[in-house]
């Protein structure tokens, strides 16, 4: 072997050695990467937080809703059975309790509430085409009795089945006057009773579907990732919570505030506010925000925050501060929303609130969702 061949052999050996080393390092990197990915996907945090939210956040809120709905139905039955002139104040108070209950769980837009149009049947809003007004008027014209029977009523237009219809009957001058003064049982009262019973029925269904049990939605969340489950991994179930938070913030900014505020004070539209008849538009917003804050912080510690706390401490603190500040701004508005938006000083507070909610929404889509690793996907509100 001459020196030339020897050098050549060494050279070829070196090349072989380094290319092997290169391949080995590459493989090692790939394996480490895959493992890191796997360990992130299998992280027990997702499953724990999912279940905690179902048990300590969602279930108690549906329980409260059902209690409120039962009390509302009782109040309406009493009201309608009383002799004229009837006093609607107890029913109106029960309505407010029920609205509080709904606004505290409205942000949960996935699971059983999606089935059978339950969410829309409880609270169809906004009614941009004013369909509810027209349909309730037509029902009164026809005095349609068969349509009020349980089976028929559950498949009637959602605009006559739920809370906004009840609000119109209880708080608008013309309908509430009929309820107070009519000598005998009147159609308005019959419709109101059908609505109250319907909301109570739906609330019972929701409570049952989230209560523990092998067929419950709680079990679906608990078994995320197991064969046959709708979620291929626990993180997919978490994605629903994140999406719910984002959608609710979008509803709050786009629908509950921006449509009301108008671009300038001259173009303000107070009657586009949610629940303007019962003067509780701002109260709805505060209940929504408190619910989102609780979902983030956790009712007893384990909320969405838990998933980002250690890896993204700055973001986790920023979001805590953002929820707190936004809520404080909402609570600092003294007047009913319908008045506040028309008065220069209070309006500036409402504008501040809108800005903070929009910023929160962007933080959820731009920071929280990527940090948790849950894409938001297309949104039902993408239309116009």
């Amino acid at each position: 072997m001459n020196s030339r061949t020897r050098i050549k052999r060494i050279e070829s050996w070196l090349i072989n050695f380094f290319s092997c080393l290169f391949v080995v390092i590459l493989c090692a990197l790939v394996i480490v990467g895959v493992q890191r990915k796997l360990s992130a996907a299998d992280s027990p945090n997702f499953a724990t937080v999912n279940l905690k939210l179902a048990q300590s956040h969602i279930l108690p809120r549906y329980k409260r809703l059902q209690t409120n709905a039962a009390q509302f139905e009782d109040a309406i039955v009493k009201l309608c059975n009383a002799a004229a002139p009837r006093d609607p104040s107890a029913s109106q108070a029960a309505f407010h309790q029920l609205m509080d209950g709904w606004m505290a769980i409205e942000h949960i837009r996935h699971g059983p509430v999606e089935l059978l149009m339950r969410n829309f049947r409880i609270h169809f809003w906004p009614d941009k085409g004013a369909r509810g007004a027209r349909q309730i008027r037509l029902l009164h014209q026809r005095r349609d009795q068969s349509g009020l029977k349980k089976d028929a009523f559950t498949s009637a237009s959602v605009a006559v089945q739920g809370l906004p219809a009840a609000e119109r009957l209880l708080f608008s001058k013309s309908y509430s006057k009929t309820i107070i003064d009519a000598k005998e049982k009147n159609y308005t009262c019959q419709l109101l009773q059908a609505i109250a019973q319907n909301i109570n029925d739906i609330s019972k269904e929701l409570l049952a579907s989230w209560s523990p049990g092998s067929n419950s939605y709680q079990a679906v969340i608990q078994n995320a990732g197991k064969p046959g489950n709708k979620f291929s991994k626990p993180k997919d179930a978490t994605a629903d919570y994140v999406k719910a938070m984002h959608t609710t913030l979008k509803v709050l900014t786009d629908l509950k505030l921006d449509r009301v505020l108008g671009k300038t004070i001259e173009k303000v539209k107070p009657k586009r506010a949610e629940s303007w008849r019962s003067k509780r538009s701002l109260r709805n917003i505060i209940f929504n925000l408190k619910a989102l804050q609780a979902m983030y912080e956790g009712e007893k510690g384990l909320g969405l925050k838990h998933l980002i706390e250690s890896k993204h401490p700055d973001l986790s603190r920023l979001l805590s501060r953002a929820f707190k500040k936004t809520l404080e701004t909402a609570q600092s508005i003294q007047q009913p929303l319908t008045d506040a938006v028309t008065m220069p000083k209070p309006r500036s507070k409402v504008l501040r609130l809108a800005k903070e909610m929009r910023a929160l929404k962007v933080l959820v889509s731009g920071k929280l969702a990527p940090a948790i690793g849950t894409p938001l996907g297309f949104n039902a509100l993408d239309g116009d």
Binding site: R131, A369, D382
Partner: protein, 420 residues
Amino acid sequence: MRFFIAIAAAVVLTSTAYAGHHEKKAVIEQYTKIAHAMYSDSLTTAKRLQSIVNRLIAQPTEANLAAARTAWLAARVPYQQTEVYRFGNAIVDDWEGKVNAWPLDEGLIDYVAASYGAESEENPFYRANVIANKSIKISGKTVDTSRITKALISKTLHEVNEVESNVATGYHAIEFLLWGQDLNGNGPGAGNRPASDFDPKNCSWGNCDRRAAYLKAASDLLVDDLVWMTNQWAPNGKATVGLVKGDVKKGLSTILTGMGSLSYGELAGERMKLGLMLKDPEEEHDCFSDNTHNSHYYDALGIRNIYLGEYRRIDGSVVKGPSLSSLVAKTSKGVDQELRSKLDATMSAMGKLVKAAEAGEAYDQMIGPNNKAGNARVQAAVDALTSQTKSIEKAVAALGLSRIKFEGSDSLDNPSAVFQ
């Protein structure tokens, strides 16, 4: 030697990535070409409608009214296919309210039946009836409406008082003038306006000259608006240049945003599911003409067109080129196949709506409260669209695009600063 193979492999990898860039550009270019073809076809059919409207006004016969209705129906075919360009392209979205706003409170424009109702708390102009009134009050000021012009209906009346249902221009305003109200509720039958509504010599319902003037102004305006939009999609138009010269990822996101948002939020949600929830005959997109089945069908076809990179023009010729479909297939054959089969399933569900409507069951009957089979037929199309959206989301992921950027329009530059 292996070392060099490793290097060579790296070079090959980079060059495919480079080729990928060209391929993506080509897909975006094809997207703009199809837009131009679709808007050109919309313009051509709108011009035909315009000329027949002129004939109807000159000779208000039933035959001419029927011809105008046929021309309107034909104009909807290419236009509805353009709707997929609306979401994601601000230039289209900011403009489209002028041509396809819906639903409308038609009492703003002309006479309506008593069942329409006297007032709406959402809309003070619910029964303004501009055709019958030579002046109206807007925010306390009296506005002269003695001459019905393009400017009056587009600048003063359209969305007056910021109420979205004050639709004074576009396809649906013209549709109302050609058909009149559909007073059949959830029962059979469309609007039934007589040709004498446009005949000053033998005038039904009064103000026939003003009604004719309104129809002419709205038809002329539709042509003007479509001329403008067609120009935006010409090879050197603003919309085309913005996409072709812009960021490739952003361009692809635009295409998929349009597909997903139209499929889900708009078509499956606002236009179809809402109708099923409200069971209201007014909740149909083309409610005067009972043409809703076709509107939905061609919306869905537009989504499929831009995914496959092909469009059949009104003259029968086909515009075909590099497709998003083949781009997705490069990364994931499975996702591409799934999405294509979902798009086909939607077309089949939409086809069933069209078939039922052509057999005499109009869309407003299908969404009626006591029509289980009709409800189920509409629901099947909603489900198909929803399912197709999930596959579009998979395509977004397959191409490595993020959904977050899509929100650009209403996002803040620095949301954290708000909470300092």
